[in-house]
């Protein structure tokens, strides 16, 4: 085990996998000398040289597409999007090409491509640089969708992603980069996709949280413990594939559920999870599943407004009490 930040955990796995497999290479804006604007590729240029650590022009469609082509041609590209919001500039290459090619070609193509980058609020970047857009990539079939919430998960899930033979959207969160945690040193440490993490066990209510909300839900759960409310906190870790079993079993046990994420509530992943719970555990539910997510407005620049738009810990607490009719 080594204690390191979420950003460094990512950097280290990239380096280890690049050492292990020379088909792995990284490209993106300002990832070489600069090491990425959040430092996730720092030092890679020095170790692996400019062929495998490539600064790209600001042309997301071209370099995501080049990732698709290089993957089809036998390489294992890792493409960094500086902000996941820029996925919209390359949306066709992700949603119409990467996601569909294997299927459209009748299974005769393999496309091991990792598209990674950060998203979310927390740095005053406003509407075009603060979104959480994972729901879109969950909706369009053909992509695996990963959302690590801790340094260890970032490491274990990224390694799994890098050894997977499918196109993967790997959603980091900008405010998690500096959070620290213990990360296994095992160079084969992997966390399987489709296996949710029961972050904290509990029996009264289930909170399903993603990304930065996992830690915040855990914090709320610990507070509620003091009030005698036992909350189970689950982090799905991957949205595609989704671990229906762990979530549904928990709700069958607790009878109550809250889903919380930073993305917009309307049409967000919470809607899918709440619907799955209703489908699979309707007779166990003692209260409707509550969904927490950003309100239906673009993310504002001002901090007070931003906080008014995305869920707060207070909201999680109230939601848990509400499903408990307290």
């Amino acid at each position: 085990m080594s204690r390191k930040s979420y950003a460094i955990a990512i950097r280290d796995v990239l380096a280890e996998e690049m050492r292990r497999d020379d088909r792995v290479f990284v490209m993106g804006e300002d990832i070489a000398e600069q090491g990425g604007i959040y430092g996730c590729t720092r030092g890679l240029l020095e170790e692996f040289g400019p062929d495998r650590v490539r600064n790209t022009p600001i042309s997301e469609a071209a370099f995501v597409g080049a990732g698709v082509g290089a993957a089809l041609a036998g390489m294992r590209p890792v493409v960094e999007l500086m902000y996941m919001d820029f996925a919209f500039v390359a949306a066709d290459q992700i949603l119409n090409q990467a996601a569909k090619i294997r299927y459209m070609y009748g299974g005769k193509a393999t496309l091991p491509l990792v598209i990674r980058g950060q998203q979310g609020v927390g740095r005053g970047n406003a509407a075009t640089h603060s979104q959480s857009i994972e729901a879109i990539f969950m909706h369009i079939p053909g992509l695996k969708v990963v959302m690590p919430s801790t340094p260890a998960d970032a490491a274990g899930l990224l390694r799994t992603a890098l050894r997977d033979n499918n196109p993967i959207m790997f959603f980091e969160h900008k405010i998690l980069y500096n959070t620290k945690g213990e990360v296994p040193d095992d160079p084969d440490f992997m966390i399987p996709f489709g296996k949710a993490n029961i972050v904290k066990e509990g029996k009264d209510a289930t909170v399903i949280a993603t990304s930065q909300y996992v830690g915040r839900a855990e914090k709320v759960a610990k507070q509620l413990e003091k009030e005698g409310i036992s909350v189970e906190v689950i982090d799905p870790r991957t949205l595609v594939p989704f671990d229906t079993e762990t979530v549904v079993n928990s709700v069958k046990k607790t009878g109550r559920a809250v889903v919380v994420h930073e993305a917009h509530k309307c049409g967000g992943v919470g809607a899918e999870i709440a619907s799955i719970i209703m489908e699979e555990a309707f007779n166990y539910l003692d209260a409707p599943v509550i969904r927490l997510g950003a309100k239906s407005c673009p993310l504002p620049f001002n901090l007070g407004l931003e906080n008014a738009v995305v869920p707060q810990e207070d909201d999680i607490e109230k939601a848990v009490k509400s499903v408990l009719y307290k």
């Binding site: 082509g69 041609a73 459209m104 193509a109 496309l111």
Partner: protein, 319 residues
């Protein structure tokens, strides 16, 4: 160019022509559905370019992709079966005409998104460069596609990274009903090569020899690691953009004039006039091609539909 390659080109052009005539016939007989964009009239480009490629070289193609696919080595039977959505098709009925691919032959796929394949070719070339092989990648795209952002981004990227890509713009005068003049700021699209510091050529896209000359240069340049080239081939599609196209945008006279410039007839004449080949030899090829297309038709018609219970297969690679 040696005789063997000339005859290979001739054969491929005929294969494309006869294959597509068959596809059209099947479409009109309601045995084939979907969007089918025919390449008839433009065969010289795919056939000549691919005659210069190895199986290990890559291409990316377009919605009008049968020609590229066949020229890059696809067999007619599974290709036609794919157009019919059969289980024996190249994509097991999942892709159809607009998404046909044969990655084993270096065809990274047709692409129903205009301009969608261009960056993918750049990726194929990048893979070659990273592995240090002398593979090249050819991106075929239309005059219409040349105005998509991906065309620009890809040419710039290939240039700054000195990647072995050959950009082949098939300028057939129209994007669906829209004439080039209405859509494109320059008359010769190849002049855009200067914006990417790469060589650019405009050639008669119905002239096998002319295409051969510039593509040879471009491939040499690419294999030597000197970077990409843009080649515009001026040509014409004889048929509508799709079957049933009312073709309000052009006259019958214009179409007929272009039919006079048939690239297959032209190559045939060249072979005969220069005594490179004989009527008999060419006739034999024609007959073989027709037989192959007939076989393909029989194969495709007799092939089973994919089993609906397998619809979800092939979304993901099972690790």
């Amino acid at each position: 160019m040696d005789k063997e390659r000339l005859l290979w080109i001739y054969r491929k052009m005929q294969e494309i022509r006869k294959f597509e005539e068959k596809a059209l016939e099947l479409f009109e007989a309601d045995k084939l559905r979907g969007s089918v964009h025919l390449y008839i009239g433009e065969e010289a480009i795919a056939a000549t370019v691919c005659s210069l490629l190895k199986d290990t070289d890559y291409i990316t193609s377009t919605h009008r992709g049968h020609g590229h696919c066949i020229a890059k080595g696809a067999e007619l039977a599974p290709a036609l079966a794919e157009l019919m959505g059969k289980a024996t098709g190249y994509c097991q009925g999942r892709g159809g005409s607009m998404h046909i691919a044969d990655v084993t032959k270096g065809n990274l796929g047709a692409n129903a998104i205009v301009g969608g394949g261009i960056p993918i070719a750049v990726g194929g070339a990048l893979a070659a460069k990273l592995r240090g092989t002398d593979q090249v990648a050819v991106s075929f795209f239309g005059d219409g596609a040349s105005n998509e952002g991906t065309a620009h981004e890809s040419m710039n990227l290939a240039s700054v990274w000195k990647l072995p890509v050959i950009f082949i713009c098939e300028n057939n005068g129209f994007g669906i009903s829209t004439p080039v003049k209405q859509s494109t700021s320059v008359e010769d699209i190849s002049v855009r090569s200067a914006a990417y510091d790469m060589p650019g050529y405009t050639v008669d896209g119905n002239d096998v020899l002319a295409i051969n000359e510039v593509v040879t240069k471009a491939i040499e340049r690419a294999r030597k690691g000197e970077g990409p080239t843009l080649i515009e081939c001026k040509t014409y599609r004889w048929l509508g953009h799709w079957t049933g196209d009312p073709q309000v945008y052009r006259t019958k006279e214009e179409v007929d004039a272009w039919k006079e410039k048939c690239p297959i007839k032209r190559l045939r004449n060249h072979l005969l006039e220069n005594k490179i080949s004989t009527e008999e030899e060419i006739q034999k090829i024609d007959e073989e091609v027709i037989a192959a297309v007939e076989y393909a038709e029989k194969f495709a018609l007799e092939s089973p539909e994919p089993d609906p219970s397998t619809a979800m297969d092939y979304v993901f690679y099972e690790n």
